[in-house]
């Protein structure tokens, strides 16, 4: 596969990503992607053999970029609290974005395929996020920014709240204020006065 092919492959994945963001996972057919990419039916099959495969690849792309969210948040002089707040604000932005997330498609995908619960991308992302938040809280505790007995558990709780917000955003809808309140609640439970 030449350079051009790699380009096209990437182009297809990026286009498919938009389609998944708009329609979720299940409603997307190979035809949808073919049309969005403006290529031929057979052409798509040269690169991918199913929507499943395409979605998994999109997810991989996504997950690589996800790691950057933290990296972006970390600046030299920022305190742990600053970084955590920045991260939570990032998450807020993302979970309030309408039709601009793969959240729904991802959930649908994991529902449809009854994938191994132990080893899947989503799980790895979750666990890795927990670990990073944990480190952040530990750093904050050392700096006396945070107060916390069990940093690991606090990190996990934050992630569950975020997941709860995320799914509610997709189903029952939530406002910016609701998210803000949750963020404040989280921070308060870490002993941050604001």
């Amino acid at each position: 596969m030449g350079d051009k092919s790699i380009q096209k492959r990437k182009y297809i994945l990026e286009t498919a990503r938009k389609v998944f963001m708009e329609k979720g996972f299940k409603r997307v057919t190979m035809k949808d992607i073919v049309e969005a990419c403006d290529i031929s039916r057979g052409g798509l099959y040269l690169y991918f053999e199913s929507t499943d495969q395409i979605f998994l690849e999109v997810l991989k792309m996504e997950s690589q970029e996800a790691d950057d969210v933290f990296s972006d948040s970390i600046t030299e002089d920022a305190t742990a609290a600053d970084i955590l707040i920045l991260f939570l604000k990032e998450q807020k932005k993302e979970l309030l974005r309408k039709n601009n997330t793969l959240t729904q498609a991802t959930y649908e995908f994991y529902f449809e395929k009854e994938l191994p619960k132990k080893d899947n991308i989503l799980r790895r992302q979750f666990d890795s996020a927990v670990k990073i938040i944990e480190k952040l809280i530990e750093a904050g505790v050392e700096n006396d920014e945070f107060f916390c007995d069990d940093c690991k558990e606090a990190a996990r709780n934050i992630m569950f709240v975020l997941e709860g917000l995320r799914i509610c955003a997709q189903t029952i809808g939530i406002t910016s204020e609701v998210v803000d309140r949750e963020i404040l609640y989280i921070l308060k439970s870490l002993g941050v006065e604001d």
Copy 2:
């Protein structure tokens, strides 16, 4: 519609409920329901016109029963903390049940139809649960069982954590221990020492 019809309608809904629990929402076809009910294709259409409609009715049934969870928890001499703990344990049991919940189907349904976020069954259930928990916490605060600044927010937080656990149970999988730790975390943040 005669008595017999009402009976049959109910029979269909109950049978369909089982099908949705097994397969989620999207993967269920009219054919599946027809076969599960052992009625004729045309027969089903006499009562319902789509899987959507059937699922909504199933959800209505469900939501009427859901209110009983709390009622069951409340006994005369129970303290607020007792009731809250009982409720959380109920939730734990439910969210760990495999293929015995409409959770997945419900999420799928709400993903698929981009329903009004403001007024839907799920939303009403959520809000009503928040209110009940809030009342419970307030009662607990008055009894000095709980310590809490903002009972409404605490209640909301609990619900988001539960939602987070619920979705995670369906996608990345969670263990009984994970749920226990979250329950403890919630109780601790209410000032309960255990």
Copy 3:
């Protein structure tokens, strides 16, 4: 499946039979059969799930009728030689018929699927024909119509010659005279002077 369904099933098989006679096996698609029957795409799938299945059923029908060829040949006063000659003439007629045989389709079918050689319809038909011819020759030998050392082998040889003629008729083409000569040769080798 009601009476009507059985009728329709039969109708489809008979129509499909004609299609197979015209086009062989491989070139026939479900669409061809749908069009020949003038039914809907989905309609055909109610009765059969593949051209394979349809062809096998056609073959079964055929094989039931094939047994009648002999029965038809046998009349009360006919001698063994008469019956054998009648049978060979029947075979001649059949193998010279253009596009009015399933021969080609049958061969194609057995080529395509690499079916068990031991137990298949074709094999059963062949063996049963050998047995009947053998009986016939034995009867002829007893009547001093035929002369033959090994009736079983003679019967088998007749069948192989017929198979050879059949396949040649489909590939390189043969004339009526060629078949006649082979029939005479067979009869002569059984000691029949004509």
Copy 4:
């Protein structure tokens, strides 16, 4: 067309031959041949325009080599009977070989294309084989090895039996013993005592 081209053409034909032996005719696609030859899709089209053409060319190659079977059989001191027996044994070997013959592919090819019956390679091969066998029998008759009224007809009969065996080998399966018995039957009908 340069030397190199001729070489490549031949290489393609020989490779394609193997593919046809494995899969018959109809199941072979241009893609199969391209992959077996490890050349480019477009490249194949520079030499041949269809599987039909390729198969015909393979058949031509084959037919040139087929003539050698007899030449090989003929040694100086061999009697007619020896040569005939050798030839029949050759044929036996060939028709019992699994997946190592173009037989099936050839039949499929002639089924698919409804080619002129009068003038085709298969026909020429058949006629030429008949002629050679005829000559052989005539020689045998002169040497008093064989007894035969109509040598041409005997030769033709042999070929039809062989064709019958060949097709049966591909469809209903035959054993070595069955072929042996047919060979003995043929020889006996030529008056050879063995």
